[in-house]
Symmetry: C2
Subunit: 365 residues, 2 copies
Amino acid sequence: MPPVYDLTPGAFSFKPSPVNFNATHQVRNAMQKRLFGLIAAILLFAMTGIAAASDPLPSWNDGAAKAAITGFVARVTDQNSPDFVPVPERIATFDNDGTLWTEHPMYTQLAFAIDRVKALAPEHPEWKTTQPFQAVLENDFNALAASGEKGLLQLIMATHAGMSTDEFASIVSAWFDTAQHPKFKRPYTEMTFQPMLELLAYLRDNGFKTYITSGGGIEFMRPMTEQVYGIPPEQVIGSSIKTKFEMQDGKPVLMRLAEIDFIDDKTGKPVGINKFIGRRPIASFGNSDGDRQMLEWTAAGDGARLMMLVQHDDAEREYAYGPANGLPDTHFGAFTPALMEEAKGSGWVVISMKDDWKQIFAPAK
Amino acid sequence: MPPVYDLTPGAFSFKPSPVNFNATHQVRNAMQKRLFGLIAAILLFAMTGIAAASDPLPSWNDGAAKAAITGFVARVTDQNSPDFVPVPERIATFDNDGTLWTEHPMYTQLAFAIDRVKALAPEHPEWKTTQPFQAVLENDFNALAASGEKGLLQLIMATHAGMSTDEFASIVSAWFDTAQHPKFKRPYTEMTFQPMLELLAYLRDNGFKTYITSGGGIEFMRPMTEQVYGIPPEQVIGSSIKTKFEMQDGKPVLMRLAEIDFIDDKTGKPVGINKFIGRRPIASFGNSDGDRQMLEWTAAGDGARLMMLVQHDDAEREYAYGPANGLPDTHFGAFTPALMEEAKGSGWVVISMKDDWKQIFAPAK
């Protein structure tokens, strides 16, 4: 427990009045106001110092993963360390699905697309007899899986295109306000991993700029990332469809087209990082084969680097899947033995949800 | 002239020692160190206050343009104003060529491409008899102009693709280190407009995030924007060619392909802004028809907005071209009468380089 300080303002015998200015009374009053503001700043500063002295990662068990994080941050932020990195270059990139929030029983965006197909079905009677829509309407997930990548793309285009960017953002926000995770019966925006939220905040407190680099849709994530992760829209990178500038009734809109613009997955992740950020991250975090090239790209830079992979090995508190380490092979977020081998050979750190995390989900809001 | 303050440290009778902590000596010493640090902060803060009281835009003549800027900034930063905008939403976007630096006698990037064609010519004997390369090697700018957009694209692809992103950044940096503007005989990185540099700094001092949104190549600009404009690579949006992730000798590289990825001009500017930033700017700055849709997109948002266009009407100190207002119609950066009419009808502010700017170029470094 940290020592107790008396931090009430009266405990400071700090008097701004004796400051000597060769200036008018008006200016002196303005300067005094500024000094009073600084008393508040001093208190805040002192308290921040105390908070920093306590554990910044309370949901992490002591172990190799936690030590890798705190050791890395200590090295790159210490001006006397050979590994010191200036603040503007402290870029950290995070996959979203399976890394920052849960991705089972299916990607959250797929749950959204399914709900949208059901909501839009009355306007599309032909969907009753057309795959993959029929599969969705009949809750036939085997038929849906059989429709493959092409089928998923059809679902996405039918539900994510044909409206303006503003309209789509409203639809997404409204969905997040009401939709619930089928197993945990909580809003999807609460299916975030508490240890990763602490990690994001810890890195930002140490001068890092935190980015999301997800295979998911950039405009599906942006309406919630600021509130959920403290990550502003301009630090979200994802897959996208094309948009087109149009004038509608004298007002400009960006219409969403049923045409792929960019797939931010696998080899696309370094491409997206280079395109959006223009600098190489010094730390990156993922959980599946889709993150491999992002970690390789991060690792290939000069100086200290941190690459980490979340392994879902906690069937009790969340889900367990691999197929690495003999865990079940499932549809979403494959962590293959080949990725595990590369991680071990390259000094990437594997986080065991079961062993490294005291708590999985963020508390209810 | 501002009043003179005595700002030497001794002028403050600020003593940290009487602070009362219910804590150990060690902790007290740590707290005292923190307080001493804050004395320095107070001095800095006081001096910043003084600096802010002086003119933040000294290279701007008093007039409608300068008043539009300072009035807008006052409204959106005053918490008691109905036009107040929270810091994260203070996004300002700037065209580059002709808005932040000179674009005549040709776009800087075209000068780079021409120099690269000449440098690479020994490896390409066929260029001696193939347009548009022959035109470049023979300095025949009429033939080059006749090759049109297709010819320019060929030049760009021959000089901007086929190497890794790291290699291209090195080539660009080396070129900027030595190349000179043909008329002013100064490095291109000094062909920036001093009033616009002051505007960028003024906006950032008031909590704005400043972005470049240029039709020029994103990877051509990024090697110099931080040093030249104080704009980091992640706040540069521009046109791009595709890149491809590859492993070369076990090391990942991003190879630049001879294939257009995105054209950040005209209707592409709002598309790029939405893609990279995900928020609508509240202020935007351009100088030509290529910026029209960016200004329309900015203007269409709710709340206070500032849209400005630089008019090049100073043949003596820089260049004069339109064709708006009867100025010469040239190859680069057309400001058409239609744009002028829209600006007047929409309350966009036109900056006259001749009348509004005391000084055009940044001083030599």
